[in-house]
Subunit: 357 residues, 2 copies
Amino acid sequence: MNLKIALLAGDGIGPEVTNEAVNVLNTVAAAGGHTFTYTSLLIGGAAIDAHGTPLPEETLKETLASDAAFLGAVGDNKFNSLPPSERPEAGLLKIRAELGGFANLRPATAYKALADNSPLRPEITEGVDILFVRELLGGLYFGQPRAWDKTTDRAHNTMVYTRHEVERVAKIAFDIAAKRDKKKVTSVDKANVLECSQLWRAVVTEVAKDYPTVTLEHQLVDSMAIHLMNRPRDFDVVLTENLFGDILSDESGVITGSLGMLPSATLGGKVNLYEPVHGSAPDIAGQGKANPIGAILTAALVLRHSAGLNAEAKIIEDAVVKVLEAGYRTTDIARGDIAGQQTVSTSKMGQLVLDQV
Amino acid sequence: MNLKIALLAGDGIGPEVTNEAVNVLNTVAAAGGHTFTYTSLLIGGAAIDAHGTPLPEETLKETLASDAAFLGAVGDNKFNSLPPSERPEAGLLKIRAELGGFANLRPATAYKALADNSPLRPEITEGVDILFVRELLGGLYFGQPRAWDKTTDRAHNTMVYTRHEVERVAKIAFDIAAKRDKKKVTSVDKANVLECSQLWRAVVTEVAKDYPTVTLEHQLVDSMAIHLMNRPRDFDVVLTENLFGDILSDESGVITGSLGMLPSATLGGKVNLYEPVHGSAPDIAGQGKANPIGAILTAALVLRHSAGLNAEAKIIEDAVVKVLEAGYRTTDIARGDIAGQQTVSTSKMGQLVLDQV
Ligand SMILES: CC(C)[C@H](C(=O)O)[C@@H](O)C(=O)O
Ligand SMILES: CC(C)[C@H](C(=O)O)[C@@H](O)C(=O)O
């Protein structure tokens, strides 16, 4: 098959991890006789530097004309003084909105080989396999009105959800849960305080009725922040609004041991958007210290969700496990105090995975 | 000295833990020749049941005429179908607003005796001593407009902050940090997306200039959710807006091992409000399973912040440590697999602390 992929490498470590992911993706595709073509496009700080805007017209046009979008990371401290609407992150939020994907899938998986990398005890993380389904186009991120009024020295943002927005993301969460072993959806809200959350809870409860094989539970966001650390094995699919998902999925990164390990896929729109969960980490950019595994596992999600190549996706995921079990570590997951480990660079890690696929 | 305390025991386990806390408070006060008097008042679900409103006029009037307010917990699942404005929690939010305290102090402290109760490894939690300063009267909790419009099936809430609101809570955080060993404030926001957070960050940065001995760092809320688990010892005073503080202070409860251990004090208004961090836990109410230590440590905060009795506060805090070190545990912190521990009831735990003060 043919797949036209828009490459939005972005800022900081974005380009280096994207590079490794594309190598792996290409090798797997070629082996199966598939042709993947790539168009490199500017986004974020890199686009501001070149064109004065975090999402140039051309990037948007080309991405909308692609079969999938692969994004590295955006953000750079040098833009910290700009208002949100002009920052690198605005490019990310705008492309998310334009591509239209509203269901952001983020796994939090425990790897045996990395059990010592989590601040959580191994008996807590063992066997954890959580999938966050984070609503990505609503809530405080996009709600209007929003402003920092400098004359009154008052700032406000709007959290907003419609029934339709909740319904469509809830359906994806239940569809996925119905195919998993535990068949459980945990919906997160703050329904004891927020009207948005009351709507959220009511709609999710309704959607659940169409999925008799799936168990639904509701948790308040504050309690959930505790439960995810105390008993992560109890969760399966975790459904959240935008900001709660941002916070809780990052928090749950400690189960895996490093954010650098985590992939994501955003489905439901015109073009699926794939991004590792980690940020641009400008402090380590260009030093070969970045962990490319999050991006490489994101490449696996491209195969699974945009190419229907499930077996090939699995090959990449298994390769990552093998490389970790062989003791190879990038800086973020290296533990100098553990024997049998070897710290490797970004490109070496990419090569090691490539050797396994 | 004399102190007139409004007792708002509330729902679920609220009354039982409040009872133990008052016993301890009274004993310590009497020993020092102080006279503390108490007025029991209804709030939350208990007030809805009796008077159809979660905050009756009389409760408010009496509390405003007191020197301090001591609240147990509010909330009961039987009110889940009511809109936020009519639920038990509305009584809590209204009394918070009326009393005017905007700085909610919540410690996250590691106890040696409870090191095995945290899902985090002991080498991670050892020596952790974090104080959250959570803004309590702003943000999404109180922002207008807010509604769930059932005709359009759209709900919205407003996150709003003024310079004044940020300034006053930041000053409290820096005042406290200046007196602590690490002298560090970590301010939490989502300034890469929210205008509210941009205002927040700008004002906190300005306030910091008046505190040359205190170090200020900014963290995004999603990253902070990770750092608090990976390297909690690096933090000292953590300053947050209302909802971020709700989530992160609960999450950090896992450092201590149980939410049942954590006290809070809300300062800056007409009457200080004291509440344990835990909720009403209706499922275990009346069974003697609740942990009264959060409430008892909250009593210590009454002594410290409303009575200026620092030594007496310390006596209570030390008594709690001794009881824990002697191996006594309520259900929430009991570990059947560890030798030398004895599970005790709510009242027995209260008595044990009392015996030590
Ligand atoms: C960079 C930022 C805007 C983004 C978000 O908050 O969505 C990031 O934290 C993420 O989780 O993908
Ligand atoms: C009960 C609820 C309204 C409250 C809050 O969110 O503030 C509680 O979670 C807390 O943290 O004190």
